[in-house]
Amino acid sequence: MKFKFFLTMIFYSLLRRRMRMAVALLAVAVGATIISGMVTVYREVPQQLGREFRAYGANLLILPAGDSAAFDQSHIESVSKILANHELVGIAPFLYERLEINKQPILSGGTDFDELQKVSPYWQIDGEFPKSGKREILLGKDLSEKFSPIDPKSIIGKNVSVSAGEGSAMRNYKVVGIVSTGGREEEFAFLDLAELQSIVEKPNQIGLAQVSVVADQNSLTQIENEIRNSDSAIIPQSIQQIARSEFSVLGKLQALVLLVTLIVLLLTLICVTTTMMAVVTERRKEIGLKKALGAANQNIVSDFLGEGCLLGAFGGLLGSGLGYLFAQSVSLQVFNRGIDFSISIAILSIVLSIIVTGVASMIPVRIATSVDPAIVLRGE
């Protein structure tokens, strides 16, 4: 009964003094909104940016073990199984061989173009990618200039002769596109993996596989170890520069978000303290009355802390909802991708708001307990 009346008192002190408490509620809610939003962004940034980083190419290579130059492409399946629990972007198998194209020795790559587009979305194509099962070829930009110096693009649609070398059968392939990457790929020719394996008579053989997986540096090392321990025919090798720069950029971004969150937390604390102090000052008479009626200092402390905590809970509840909307909007604007509502972040922001309001109430509550009950008799 006593606790019920305590709740009644603190609840009505907020509800029936709406205008005054709305200001305090707003201060807590704004703080909670930013904290909840920033924590959501803080949590989401690694995942979202991790996905963004995947646009810059593979972060893991699968190479043949020992002195072998190639391995059977069935080993890729064991890699896929290990990566089943991770967000796999794609695995692009590659076989590189020297072919004769229009009687010139050209380093050529065979790959799965569907997977390649996932792993290396930065490849820019004039024309289109070769289709699986068709005699189509993609030329690097430099190579196309070599074949057609005046108008490189005019080679698209024309046939080139391809063979494994002197004495082997010659086949015609249609040039369907020119690739620009800014890298060494511009000197190569690319065709469907099965076509290249057939020309060089190396069925199911690949020289390497490029893997793109959403993972931080630690997870990548863990994946690497798992692959190494599960399949002795292949050697995994993470691309450390990419993993390190991802880690570095993410670390800096997270530190920035953390710093902003802490500053907001501090500002909220100051704002709520000021508001609570104003609330206490204007309620000196009420505090004096309660003391005159026999309230002990701990009663006054629990009344105001109770109000503060209830205010924190309401503000936190409101702020966690608004914070999610804020984070959702940031994510949609920056990453073009929505985020899921997190119950744990909502609970965290409510608890944090209660703690902040509780702490912010400490100074005003100390002032409240020093109010002299005699003020109610002096008519001040």
Binding site: K2, S13, L289, L293, G294
Partner: protein, 219 residues
């Protein structure tokens, strides 16, 4: 034995200002005494001391057998909570609580809030039908009656009323004084502090306080 006894009580502020000077005062159970005097005479200081909100500088004070001079602040709060019922000139109701809840606040700090008891106390002052109204929805007279109900709720040994009709019109003043008469007839011990001769005359006994000195009224 007297319910309240003051012997040689003095109150000196900052070692210089003598607000009360060697006061001797006694009130028996069931008495109704009016303390009268002009502004600045020391009435409020005396009220604070009798109401256990301040301690005298010197002298002896006994309330219901307890010496008020040898207690800690926390003990003084407890005595105030258990022995005194206060009625204020400005009513001092908590604005966000209903009439019934305002009465229950005194119970809450005393022991346990009990709505039935609060309703009985409001009924006693003729306000049972206004129990769920906020102070802003009550007239001055009604607010003062809620204040009296709150003062009675914990069965205090002494009702201390500071200018209880100071903010009321004549009709409400009469209504409130009628309640005080009823309480006195029921055996309650009452001290009213007033500068009004009319209100003072309602009491069974009057004492005058002037420049910190007390004397019995001659009329």
């Amino acid at each position: 034995m007297s319910l309240l006894e003051l012997k040689g009580v003095s109150m000196v502020y900052n070692g210089k200002v003598r607000a009360l000077d060697n006061i001797d005062f006694k009130i028996d159970k069931g008495d109704w005494v009016a303390i009268m005097g002009p502004s600045g005479s020391g009435k409020t200081t005396l009220m604070n001391i009798i109401g256990c909100m301040d301690k005298a500088t010197s002298g002896e004070i006994t309330l219901d057998g307890i010496s008020l001079m040898d207690v800690t602040d926390a003990e003084l709060t407890q005595i105030r909570r258990e022995k005194i019922g206060m009625v204020f000139q400005q009513f001092h109701l908590i604005p966000y609580l209903t009439a019934a809840e305002n009465v229950m606040v005194a119970q809450y700090y005393h022991s346990l809030p009990d709505k039935d008891e609060a309703m009985k106390a409001l009924d006693r002052v003729g306000l049972a039908d206004r129990a769920e109204h906020l102070p802003s929805q009550l007239s001055g007279g009604e607010q003062q009656r809620v204040c009296i109900a709150r003062a009675l709720i914990n069965y205090p040994v002494l009702i201390l009323a500071d200018e209880p009709t100071g903010n009321l019109d004549e009709a409400n003043q009469n209504l409130v004084m009628k309640i005080f008469h009823e309480l006195h007839d029921e055996g309650h011990t009452i001290i009213t502090v007033t500068h009004s001769t009319d209100v003072g005359r309602e009491a069974q006994r009057r004492v005058i306080i002037e420049h910190g000195h007390m004397r019995e009224s001659e009329d």
